[in-house]
């Protein structure tokens, strides 16, 4: 443990003197300010998918489902807008539609009131509308705060390779486990702090802290381990950077599902950020979904990546045979 703490302190010193750390931190603050002051609360003009049960009105824009429960599930899981009719009462079910958008939708579908009673029901636990800018917070957490470990751990490892300080580490009694653990803990903490900073600055203190911190730490560790596992194969910053851009771009594809939850094909669900995005949405806005499965999944992925990172760091970074003459 003494060695791990020592390595964490060393990496912290190195990080505080590295320009990348400050670039990431400043960009984080810029994102927070943009969300708070630049991005409007209601910018989403995309047509939302409409579903219904037992609705007397027929419209090609509305998909009829087989039960009331199916409508509620669709609204919850796919962020559709639902209509449920009981006699003369139509209930509009949504998961964060603004009042303006609700009125526009009602007028377009039903015209002027014709003896129908229309109720509005939000399925989010907070019962309130989630402004579009605020709803972006999980996106920024997943694609800025949590991936910082991927970038920074990679940069530190490359600096150790280029400066050959890793050779000095190899002739010390410290081993692979300490090396990987120290970096994972450090960047797990940094990612969590960044995520908390974003969440608190943007939505305040009203979210599920315990689950949030746990998920942020594990997710951040996962990206750090992914960064370490890939960086061992590179010797210079430029080739490593190209691959990193590709990996991070692939990881960001899940944004499409987040903005249109009905688009969640199996291939997109296997990208690590997919369950994270929806879990953070749940933890911050209370969408009525469980996060237990997501937490277990991310924990399992992190455990597998930890074993892989230890294997690769030992095999490629610390034990590689090179021609040194």
């Amino acid at each position: 443990m003494k060695r791990i703490i020592n390595l964490i302190l060393q990496d912290t010193c190195l990080l505080l003197r590295n320009a990348l750390f400050w670039v990431v931190t400043v960009s984080l603050l810029v994102i927070i300010l943009s969300v708070r002051f630049l991005i409007p609360e209601d910018f989403n003009t995309d047509a939302q998918r409409l579903v219904s049960w037992n609705l007397n009105i027929e419209s090609p824009a509305i998909t009829s489902l087989e039960s009331e429960q199916a409508v509620l599930e669709s609204v919850k899981e796919e962020a559709t807008v639902g209509f449920i009719q009981h006699g003369d009462t139509i209930t509009l079910v949504h998961s964060g539609l603004s009042a303006k958008a609700q009125n526009a939708l009602m007028t377009a579908l039903f015209g002027k009131p014709s003896g129908l009673e229309i109720k509005v029901r939000s399925i989010t636990e907070s019962k309130g509308r989630i402004p579009e800018n605020i709803r972006l917070t999980p996106v920024f957490i997943c694609f800025e705060a949590l991936i910082s470990g991927f970038l920074m751990a990679g940069v530190l490892m490359l600096e150790e390779k280029e400066g050959k300080t890793i050779k000095a580490y190899r002739i010390s009694p410290a081993g692979t486990l300490e090396y990987v653990t120290a970096k994972t803990i450090l960047f797990g903490i940094i990612g969590t702090v960044y995520a908390l900073l974003m969440a608190v600055s943007i939505i305040g203190f009203q979210f599920r802290w315990g689950g949030f911190i746990l998920l942020a730490f594990v997710s951040s560790s996962l990206f750090t381990l992914l960064g370490l596992s890939l960086t061992v194969f590179f010797h210079d910053m430029s080739s490593w950077f190209s691959l990193s851009v590709c990996v991070l771009a692939l990881n960001m594809l899940t944004m499409v599902s987040y903005s249109s939850p009905s688009f969640s094909p199996p291939w997109i669900r296997v990208i690590p950020s997919w369950p994270m995005l929806f879990a953070f949405e749940e933890l911050m806005f209370g969408m009525g979904r469980g996060i237990g499965v997501t937490l277990l999944l991310v924990l399992a992925e992190t455990a597998v990546l930890f074993i892989l990172a230890c294997f690769l760091v030992r095999k490629v970074l610390l034990k590689s045979e090179r021609r040194i003459l």
Binding site: R3, A168, P173
Partner: protein, 298 residues
């Protein structure tokens, strides 16, 4: 009689701290050995010099001995135990100073030593004390990136000493240092030997090797060309000469005469009036050239 010889050899091997037997290493796997059939032993408290030009295989041998390179063929033992059996705690016993300084440039000299010391599970020396030894105490709070080449070399050496190693591997420890600092480092190496450390010195600086080493091995093209105490090598391969400086016809001239050639020496002394007479023995470089046909500094 035979048993006595065997007992002597076994006892000698037990007393030897380091034994290297028939070491081979092939980087490419095509049978071209970077080192081939290297064997030597080092007693506890001895300074063993490994001399050879760049590319001779010095660092390969050192890297195998420190576990940085995998042992392919041959045997390396410490106190009779094979290197493969030693485990990670072996690194608590050794210190390695690399030829090319490899310290964290963003950390200060003090931080470099403090964090490296934190990796050991044996008592370590206070960083400031080691920095004092290598003459860097005043520069302790300066980032290593601002150090000169010589200062970086000294910081690398300081890092190798931080865990009070029993065995020190020094790769060109005085490279890039001015004569005064070189002398300071030489004294520091001798002090480590006085404190009981065994030192494996890799260098192509024959003057340093001559001053420090109890035994030297000449490495050429991956093989040991000669190995003995420096004085024995000089006796075996060198010629003792008398150098006479004299004035003749208004010019200062110098002649060398073999010490055993007394008649020529007597004739010379009758003919000229010497200004200066001194004896001269072969340097390690002369002997290296004689043995290998190559210069050490090439």
């Amino acid at each position: 009689m035979y048993n006595e010889v065997v007992d002597r050899v076994v006892k000698k091997e037990r007393d030897d701290m380091i034994n290297v037997r028939d070491l081979y290493h092939d980087y490419t796997g095509d049978g071209k050995y970077a080192v081939a059939g290297i064997s030597f032993s080092i007693d506890k408290g001895e300074i063993f010099g490994f001399l050879g030009p760049s590319g001779a295989g010095k660092s390969t041998v050192q890297n195998i001995m420190t576990g940085l390179l995998k042992l392919q063929k041959g045997e390396v033992t410490y106190d009779g135990r094979k290197i493969s059996e030693l485990g990670i705690s072996f690194f608590n016993r050794i210190g390695v100073s690399f030829e090319h300084p490899n310290v964290y440039k963003r950390l200060t000299g003090f931080e470099n030593l403090k964090f490296h010391a934190g990796l050991y599970s044996v008592p370590t020396i206070e960083p400031m004390e080691v920095l004092e030894w290598v003459g860097l105490r005043d520069q302790a709070e300066k980032k290593a990136g601002e150090y000169s080449k010589g200062m970086l070399q000294r910081l690398t050496l300081a890092r190798a000493l931080i865990n009070q190693p029993e065995i020190l591997f020094l790769d060109e420890p005085t490279s890039g240092l001015d004569p005064s600092t070189s002398a300071q480092i030489r004294d520091l190496i001798l002090k480590q030997r006085e404190n009981g450390a065994t030192i494996f010195l890799t260098t192509h600086n024959m003057e340093l090797a001559d001053k420090l080493c109890d035994t030297v091995a000449f490495l050429n093209e991956g093989k040991i060309a000669a190995m003995d105490k420096p004085n024995n090598l000089k006796l075996k391969y060198g010629k003792k000469e008398i150098v006479i400086t004299y004035e003749q016809d208004g010019e200062v001239k110098t002649d060398s005469i073999l010490m055993e050639d007394r008649s020529t020496l007597a004739q010379m002394l009758e003919k000229v009036t010497p200004i200066k007479i001194h004896s001269q023995e072969a340097s390690l470089e002369d002997i290296f050239i004689k043995v290998t046909g190559r210069r050490l500094s090439s």
